[in-house]
Symmetry: C2
Subunit: 535 residues, 2 copies
């Protein structure tokens, strides 16, 4: 059976369904040339919204829930406003793999009815909130592909032992679903392009990547398709998309959020675990998600691999907060834009008068970093034989970044004891670096550059070093955007840098804390927001 005969028709059917869903919304964007090279979808979108659309979809989760509670907004009104943005988002960026508007609407109606029948009581903290889901999360009653062509017939039953635990939790707490978002082939790119639904583009600039692997999410959330977009991250897959699309995004300490019921080609690789978390437009939404998902959702009641650790509320920062700044991983020098962002944050923190803040430049040992990155790639490479098998089933054409990933390591030369021993060595090195330097947080690049062109997304270390040691991270906004006049130099791993490619790209950075300090990390970002005059 060839790819063309067997699988191409399935792909066509899958895409036809997606096109059919979005069809009625095409009229909305009439006259807009969204295929132009540096197309800014965010800007174009804004012209298509009514004042009411804006008011609803730019509200925080907390506000939307409060307005449903007091009866000033219905779930259906909320749904309609977000779904409009979601449809436009998909037309402009190709962020979705699956759309089901009618189901979303029915669900919103059902939630409004529940409220009516229960004297204004809501189902839960996510009542009526549209949430977009990375497609690899197994959705009961639908096919889940994780971007693999061979999974195009992978129908998921409604059994609670098959469907994604997080989907079950979010549904129970009142969420509305209508969009499942794209991930790249193999789910192991820092870009988003697959052989089923194709490329997703960055909403700020069509030429560059939205990041990956949760790049469907980052494009969708940046366009305001949902209140929360649920991504997952084993090497940067929440953070790079969040950074490239100007969002907040958390990669929590692993096993605080359940990943049970996610499809992956990497099952059994346990040296680096994947972590699931939300991408949002505000830090308040991010915090709202974490506290409610964990404390109300209690994922450990569904999944023995999830730690029964409540989200601590009311965490306060020390009297003096010390931010370490990592300017380079010593392997690839970041671009001018990233350097400018780091310098700007340093200046703003030093000038901040609202709280005592210290800033310290931190350096990492080059040899250890190099070895740790080498082992990181070896670890990812462990799953190559599984990926080879999955691709062989369909014979789908392999994208350049898939081939790049499959070359990370030779699993036959791999030594699990060395992988893990170097990992532990680097973990304790970083742990004691925090302790010895007295830093509460570490600010660092998420990637060598801002929203990169796809083929240059080859240096994972700025994000993956924290997967290796499982220190939690949040991507935060600096408020700056790429400027071709001053950001003249690219990162040292890019040989064909052209400053005009990156126009409008947001400059976001990464904040890291020690393991299990996720709550403190949120406070660290709130303080940054204040110092950067974003809050």
């Amino acid at each position: 059976m060839t790819f063309e005969d067997t699988w191409k028709p399935k792909i066509d059917a899958y895409r036809a369904k997606l096109d059919e869903e979005v069809g009625p919304y095409k009229a909305l964007v009439e006259g807009i040339d969204y295929s132009s090279e540096n197309f800014n979808a965010v800007e174009a979108l804004d012209t298509l919204l009514t004042e009411k659309d804006r008011e609803i979809t730019n509200s925080t989760a907390k506000q939307l829930v409060a307005k449903q509670r007091d009866g000033t907004l219905t779930a259906v009104e909320i749904y309609n406003a977000f779904a409009k943005r979601g449809a436009i988002a998909h037309i402009f960026t190709n962020c979705a793999m699956e759309l089901f508007f009618q189901e979303g609407l029915e669900r919103a109606k059902e939630l409004d009815k529940y409220r009516e029948d229960h004297n204004g009581e809501l189902v839960g903290p996510f009542h009526g909130l549209p949430i977009s889901l990375k497609e690899l999360m197994k959705y009961g009653g639908k096919v889940t592909t994780a971007g693999f062509v061979c999974y195009l017939d992978n129908y998921i039953s409604n059994s609670p032992r098959e469907e994604s635990v997080s989907i079950q939790i979010l549904r129970k707490l009142g969420a509305v679903f209508y969009m499942r978002t794209a991930q790249p082939q193999s789910v192991m790119h820092l870009d988003t392009d697959n052989a089923i639904t194709g490329r997703t583009s960055n909403p700020f600039n069509r030429k560059i990547s939205p990041g990956g692997s949760s790049g469907g999410e980052s494009a969708a959330v940046a366009m305001g398709s949902s209140v929360f977009g649920i991504g997952s991250d084993i090497g940067g897959s929440i953070r790079v998309p969040a950074a490239f699309c100007g969002l907040y995004g958390i990669r929590p300490t692993t096993k605080r959020v359940s990943g049970l019921g996610s499809l992956s080609g990497g099952a059994g690789q346990e040296s680096i675990f994947s972590s699931q978390g939300p991408l949002t437009r505000t830090i308040d939404d991010l915090e709202y998600y974490m506290v409610n998902y964990i404390n109300m959702g209690k994922p450990w009641e569904y999944d023995p691999n999830t730690i029964p650790l409540e989200w601590k509320t009311g965490v306060s920062l020390p009297e003096t907060v010390t931010y370490g700044i990592l300017l380079t991983d010593t392997l690839v020098e970041p671009s001018d834009a990233i350097k400018r962002g780091l310098a700007y944050v340093q200046d703003k923190l030093r000038d901040y008068k609202g709280k005592k803040v210290d800033v310290k430049v931190i350096t990492i040992d080059h040899d250890l970093m190099k070895e740790a990155f080498k082992q990181t790639l070896q670890i990812y490479g462990t799953s190559k034989p599984v990926h080879d098998k999955l691709f062989a089933i369909s014979n789908e054409p392999l994208l350049p970044l898939t081939k790049f990933f499959l070359g990370f390591a030779n699993p036959e030369e791999n030594d699990i004891l060395t992988n893990n021993n170097i990992k532990e060595q680097f973990k304790y090195y970083m742990y004691y670096l925090f302790k010895d330097q007295g830093i509460d947080f570490l600010i660092s690049p998420t990637n060598p550059n801002v929203g990169e062109v796809p083929k240059n997304l080859t240096h994972w270390n700025y994000s993956s070093m924290f997967n290796l040691i499982d220190f939690p991270n949040i991507i935060f906004r600096t408020g700056l955007t790429f400027d071709p006049k001053v950001d003249v130099k690219g990162p040292t791993n890019v040989t064909d840098y052209n400053a005009n490619d990156y126009v409008n790209a947001p400059i976001n950075l990464q904040l890291t804390a020690l393991r299990f300090e996720d709550e403190k990390l949120v406070e660290g970002v709130k303080l940054l927001d204040k110092a950067l005059e974003l809050a």
Copy 2:
């Protein structure tokens, strides 16, 4: 350099130091033939104690702390009573690798002085409590060997980044140390015998093993050398010794207790983690240790791999408590003694009037169990190359059970993805078995037999199946002991069973709960203690 020329003199020096420490106590045991075949050290010990010795050393931790607080006992009095039992324990069973009585006494004096200087205030919840330590815990200012001859020069500095985190915590909370206990060569036997200090025997019957690898601990604690004996367990190493010596012993869910600073030949093997925990003579002492070690010790402040999960106090059991009973792992049929213990517990639970209790016999799928055990051995085998190297350094003669362990698996044929995928499959199988059957706890054998003769300690699965899936366990007493008249059949893996070998061996069993339900598990054992009329 040969073993005889280089290493034998170091072994001799190490043993001479141990003999020198215990020398002054030899007079205590004069006239007792403790080398006779079925020697019962526990019985012999009892004749050597004064009423006051008994009163002190048979008190619980809570009582000893209360008496120091109200001034009716000093730390020195407590120390002297326990040290006497510890010295006799070592003479009778060879349980210690290192003894340092003078240091213990000085420490007890220091604690008494602290109390005097602070108006009766104590250092912490372990004030003045003698605690014995498995020797593989790195002790500042001493050599740590983990039973490997090649580590006889492995001096540990006093740096808090080198010494065992748990030793630091216990010291900070007031513990008194004077004994480090034996573990087997490679630390991978369910027996205790090594090329440095030789064989440890079971205090109830010299002919049989005290269990292993924490068999120095089980012998020491059964003899009353300490209030708590700290062991570690990657395949049964706390539980088998606790069971064989009539003790309580917990293998907590991994990463609730810090194992940082323990020496091991298995570093880098992360599919099955080791777990550290106490062996005690009462469930109250076990609970006292866990609540104070975790909540007062806060091990996560020293170790990024330890989960900041407080020990919940005041956990209550459901209205009806359901105990599942696993009679066989389907691979090896247990001995008559074990079967008698299981039947007795069932009867006692069914007759119990103090609380509603249900008992359900549970069976496990044979094929999955077989495959899970196969992968368990493959996982342990991953560290064979490291062990080979460690043994090659000294050329120490390999004991039969070391050779047995080194044959567990061929690491070159190993497949980490298969290891972990089967592990997860078995974990969810057992998780859903608990859920579907509605059981709170599972009662099962710890080993196919009670206190076995060393060479027959070859079937690890009754203990190791729970390491594989990381469900916590506590060993509990049935109150029964081996009876050669009725316990006529051995387990099916033993071909030369002789009922006379096991006289006086306690019949203990294993209780298991779901992951992170360690607190509930303690309540489950307390209820068993009541039903079995032991409390």
